[in-house]
Symmetry: C2
Amino acid sequence: MSQKNSTNEYPIMRPSSLKKRQRYLAVATELFLEQGYEGTGLDQLIKRCGGSKLTLYSYFGDKKGLLKAVVIELTEQLWEGLRFDVADEKSLNDQLMSFACRYIELVYTPDLLKLSRLVMAQAQTDPDLANFFLERGACHSQDVLQTFLDEQSRLGRLKIDHAFLACDQLLGALKGNRYLEALFADRLLNEQEIQDYAEHAVNAFLRSYQCQG
Amino acid sequence: MSQKNSTNEYPIMRPSSLKKRQRYLAVATELFLEQGYEGTGLDQLIKRCGGSKLTLYSYFGDKKGLLKAVVIELTEQLWEGLRFDVADEKSLNDQLMSFACRYIELVYTPDLLKLSRLVMAQAQTDPDLANFFLERGACHSQDVLQTFLDEQSRLGRLKIDHAFLACDQLLGALKGNRYLEALFADRLLNEQEIQDYAEHAVNAFLRSYQCQG
DNA sequence: ATGATACTGTACGGTACAGTATCATATTTA
DNA sequence: TAAATATGATACTGTACCGTACAGTATCAT
């Protein structure tokens, strides 16, 4: 009963233990993403991982705790790079395009798609996990974009009637209907398509909301 | 080993058997949507359903076959109403608005959201099911919209540079970023929000692509 | 060195569940 | 009515797997 932390707030731990914990996490991530939660047995995990089941349980409490740790780690890692650079001297169009490309690239990342499936499959039995995932993903990107657009409106460069809706729908357009195909069947976008999606959506957006042509 | 049809092509069957089959299907649908595939035991199903396990197996082959039948039935049922009325005398805007509202209403339908989760959770182990679901859902709606828009372009009412992209992104905008929240956490839209989403997206779309103002 | 703590390897209890087998009963068909 | 077939109720088989117990070993602090 030494550590029961299923989250990422480590207590005092030996360096070797920390390393071991990271190893568990890495292998669990790999297996969960590949085979899903139910599809991954802990015996199998330990076999690939080395270490013992008891140690695993001392780190993560139970299987659900392990899943939570995996989701937290991976989520924060994936979404960390999505932001506008405020001290950026590029044009509005360039800033939007840069954001748009990074956003599309991100949501079509194979690992994020698999993670999404993983979380969604557990959404009914573990709503907290789903909420955490939404908070750090969908809601966060919405916040980032809306903050930027508000600022641009304040500067008189945009005129938007309903900022929330505009944001929501721009993000929707960037993902496109094709996002469903990625989510369900891993149909990805190539570099060129990402560029096209971003350009097309940003152009349409600016045509609707930019102030001076 | 009488019938091994896991699809919907019924062989010769007594009426009473057909009725029984429907009953299995209805209860299976209910349980799968509520508790997921792995979460639903067949013993539990039979208990609620009446009938016996042997009969169930004679109809659907195995558990996967039952799932397939449920997905096929429900999918066709849900998407059947989504189309443009060709002999419609309404304005372009009205026709688009009518389609947009029906589309949003549909993709935010609780049962369709649950079905989506169900299929997605099985996507890795059963890609065929996922492909079928995509075909009848996402791809089909894309086809319907694009056919309509092509016709409108031919009539000189719209001028669209990339019809596929425009379609894809209009559908994306209609769902909005909020669709993720619905998918992950059943956060639905009310009647007013559906109207707002449709109006906002259709307006933006027409501002970009309509020919004469 | 010595005691305290963390870890390994293995085995096992308990349980859940898909799929099959059995036998009795009902319903159709000839 | 008799044979053939479909169904019901239930028990059973095999298996997979979570979580725990335990005895022995390695690693740390002092």
